[in-house]
Symmetry: D2
């Protein structure tokens, strides 16, 4: 069986997913497509050589009878509407992050899905599909380090555009991946957040603080520190070290040639963030296609999207106040409990 | 367009390829299939849920009008016949190694293909598609180490079945991958071979020498040493270090979690060879499907299969005699010269 | 010239130093010695083959006319008295940590030394003499990572005796080395401390918390986090990572053979803390002897001992209260300012 | 007791040793000294502040009644004479390499020492005292890799003066350290040598081949390959990998700060060979002083110097002829057998 997909949004990530589905992965094809930019959707259809219907709106895509499942890759503020519509239509929907731009919006999706009674929503937290994170999770789950007690992380970019740092982008945009992947890695939830503000680098845009250190506490008492440094100059570098009762496991570095050259023994560090998780998108989409065909759902849920949103809000508050902010969220509904 | 494939041979590797084509990769489907074991082919068709015609013979598969291209994954001694038949039918053919069991057989294929006048044959040297070898080749091609002068390699298995070492299996079976991948890596040909016989491990089957060191010399004067140690106990470990005029590049290790545990800072070494190049089969098949659809040929050629066979023969001779054996092979025909 | 030393205290560390001075390093010899245990001092003199006067008290050692300088390796609570007496006698004194058991005691020594007007006191913070810390400091001082912004550290022991954890030993005993070496590394002082209490390992003595995370803030705004985990099981492991504006430098690991064995690529992690800084004691003593002969003083000062004591007290307070504790200390006197 | 030394030769290495003995290590002092250059010896005595008699000749140094032992650090061609004279005088002698400039000269020393009947001669093969080689030997001796079967080595210099490569300097001068340290590491002797000549780097002096690969075979059948590359550009790099029946051990890299900087994860490779084994000279001299005081001899013997000379000659012959050259040497005399 081939999964017939409707795609809403043909920007960078949307087009990448269309290419994956069409030219790389087996199991699905695009049958309906739309974008707010009519010229762009036509160009994508032509350049990718797609044999698909072009719709006027996302709602039309969702409603199309030959659409089995929906891919939401439109502008963030439109996500909530399309995800809710997909749920209303009873169609599985894969939504790029954010699930919604507010915690309240995420909560509405959670409630709609519970009311519908069947898991339909998957959020695009692709790090769970990255080979290095999967190896790390395997190590923890196999009890190779005993019970986790602490996690030391770093999220570093060589630099960010000066407008990126407007408001709390590092905490909401970059950090949300850490929030989700660490919950998944530890199979735990957060109960408090604190943000530490170190001396700022001179290489950040004017008046904008960089780096930050975020401290998170989980229900089991695991303590997480994440260095968030988005103008570190030297590379795009994602570090994660889990300290357990009997040993320590580190996220593997991306594969690289070991060089002896110019008085250095070295491996390469990526400068371009796009390369770091590129392969994980393939795995993510392929697993979503395969499980959707089987009528199953295994990926990050609407609840995960909601929890990420609430945690990011707490971090923003913690930064603003300098205080330790409790993360309060209703008890996880049975609907979202682990099998 | 979907490439319609005929598959000859449904043993381990055949079935793996069928699964790749059917469930993982886009662009091709199996439309005809055969195996000398009639029960087995039926079981495979059923278990994989294939919608394909079952043929009585490989010749019938090749002749089938709806078969665009052929996959030869049958018993080694039958390869030559099926590859020649595919050429005669003018159909692209992917043949698992060996291309033929003798250098003379390989030569017949080379001659048939030249006579036919179009590249149809690709040999299953999957290491060229492995990510770590590709990164290494990139480093060399980008002149990051200057001109290569020496290559130090190791091919190590934790152990081999005692019947494996019958005759010259390590030299012909394991080593043939080194022969091909190093020619590709260096873009060079061999002119002599020498085999050194070190003290033998006590962990080898009775009376059977292990390890060996093979020394190869290329037309450019590059010197290659390959340690071939198939009962090394500790792991399946493929090493390749290219020494250039200005630096050294090492084949990346497979990705692994860095552990601190039990008084050791460690990463894992694979014990199971099957895991080492598993991903490269996907890339190999996918690139073959895509280029075949375009009417192009980019992979290891019949000439590469022939050269590997001649080189392996020289190594066997070098071991037997203890001498440095010249590798003489006709000049590379224009048909197989680089574009 | 040979420096004639008086040694007060012949326990483990005292005897080690005596052996260094007598059999390994040039430039000094022991001419007077004492210990509260009369039997022990006799045994040490005999077993080490020393040609030295045995004194009844530390005061007698300090007063001896042929004693040029004093080595205090007695029981901690006696340090203050002997250091003050050495200052009073105008003799250089090397005192093992702690300089005094209270901040007030350290302050008295600082004041006595200032009054005396000449640098006489060196505290036994041997990490400053460790090759790996010196390489790290060189990297920072050479501006290879730009200005330091954050420091991530870990101090891990495989296990500690259950009575060790009595009171706040990890914070006062183990952590004091981190306190001193990080001040030296960064050439900076602390202004606040916070202690985070993660989930405790089950491998700690009953009712005793382990691990802790200590957060320190410096006058320049550098943020330091130190994981203090004294029952980590896997090894004695000292980690220090300095994050600067343009790069990151890590404390080198102790030298170790890289092994490929039993499915692991590994280096050894020490289990015995005594081996980690063993060589730094030689360097420390040798540099103290050489500078003392020249009438100079370069090592950790009484002020450094005082600052360490005040900081450790703040950490204990921070743990007790769960609050961020400001570290208030009088301005550094000119006497102790950098040349 | 203090060992009273006579020093013959005050060039670079001689002066370094004088400094070690005088200012760093306990147990010895220089009491007599000479050099063919009278001005130089006076300058060294003055600048190092030595309290020593200046002799006219090496013979006078050896004969001086207050000289307990002799240090030969003069010009290579004079070594044999001074070592023989020391033996004749019954005085322990430490001789920098080469023991003698010809195998015949080494043999004369061996015979004189046997005739004398007591071990007096130590040759300056300092690598045996290097911490990294000692850790590697420990690993082998502890049976952590089973019986050694193969050794893969590299001796690389960033560059050499163009006159260095006159004749066979790399084989006789650089390679002699490999010859000795590998015999010691494996506790084995060589029976044949072969030299392979790869494509030459363009960064070597005109018409001079670089690199070489030397193949050695031991009595136990262990096969050694040493890449000798003295214009490798990137660094001074000594590699040694011992392949045993159950695992592999690699010579540790020199300690270095792990950096993340400029898109690289790197450690430093030394450019200056002088730094690589600098610490091993201290250990070598200190152990020689201590054992000589005790009347014992533990270091590299005259026999080791002889064996190194014979092996180097075989390598030169192997290069000249392109043949595998047997290394024939009389059976090791009982006098030099292991205790």
């Amino acid at each position: 069986m081939t999964l017939r997909l409707g795609v809403i949004g043909t920007g960078a990530i949307g087009r990448d997913h269309i290419n994956r589905i069409t030219n790389k992965l087996s199991g699905a094809k695009v049958v309906a497509i739309t974008d707010v930019n009519e010229e762009q959707v036509k160009r994508v259809v032509k350049e990718e050589g797609l044999d698909t219907k072009i719709c006027k709106t996302g709602q039309e895509v969702i409603a199309a009878v030959d659409v089995d499942a929906v891919l939401v890759t439109s502008w963030g503020p439109s996500h909530e509407e399309f995800v809710l519509a997909s749920i209303a239509a009873g169609k599985p929907v894969f939504c790029e992050k954010p699930l919604a731009t507010t915690a309240a919006g995420c909560k509405r999706i959670v409630e709609a899905e519970i009311t519908h009674g069947k898991h339909l929503v998957q959020v695009g937290f692709m790090r769970r599909y990255d080979q290095s994170y999967r190896l790390l999770k395997q190590t923890i789950d196999n009890q190779q380090i005993g019970e986790p007690l602490m996690v030391h992380c770093a999220h570093r970019n060589p630099s960010v555009p000066s407008d990126f740092y407007f408001g709390d982008m590092p905490l909401t945009d970059s950090f949300v991946h850490e929030i989700d992947v660490l919950r998944w890695l530890l199979d735990d939830d957060y109960i408090s957040a604190q943000v530490i503000v170190p001396r700022s680098t001179r290489y950040t845009a004017k008046n904008l603080q960089d780096p930050h250190i975020v401290l998170l506490e989980t229900t089991k008492g695991i303590r997480i520190d994440v260095e968030l440094f988005v103008n570190c100059k030297y590379g795009y570098d994602i570090q994660c070290q889990v300290v357990g009762e009997t040993g320590i496991a580190n996220l593997p570095e991306p594969m690289s040639v070991l060089m002896r050259s110019e008085a250095k023994l070295s491996t390469e560090i990526l400068m371009d963030w796009k390369k770091r998780f590129i392969d994980s998108y393939d795995v993510e989409l392929k697993e979503w296609i395969d499980s959707t065909i089987k009528g199953e759902a295994h990926g990050p849920t609407a609840w995960d999207g909601y929890f990420a949103s609430v945690t990011a809000d707490a971090c923003v508050e913690a930064k603003k106040t300098g205080q330790i902010i409790p993360i309060s969220i209703p008890k996880r509904p049975d609907f979202y409990s682990k099998k």
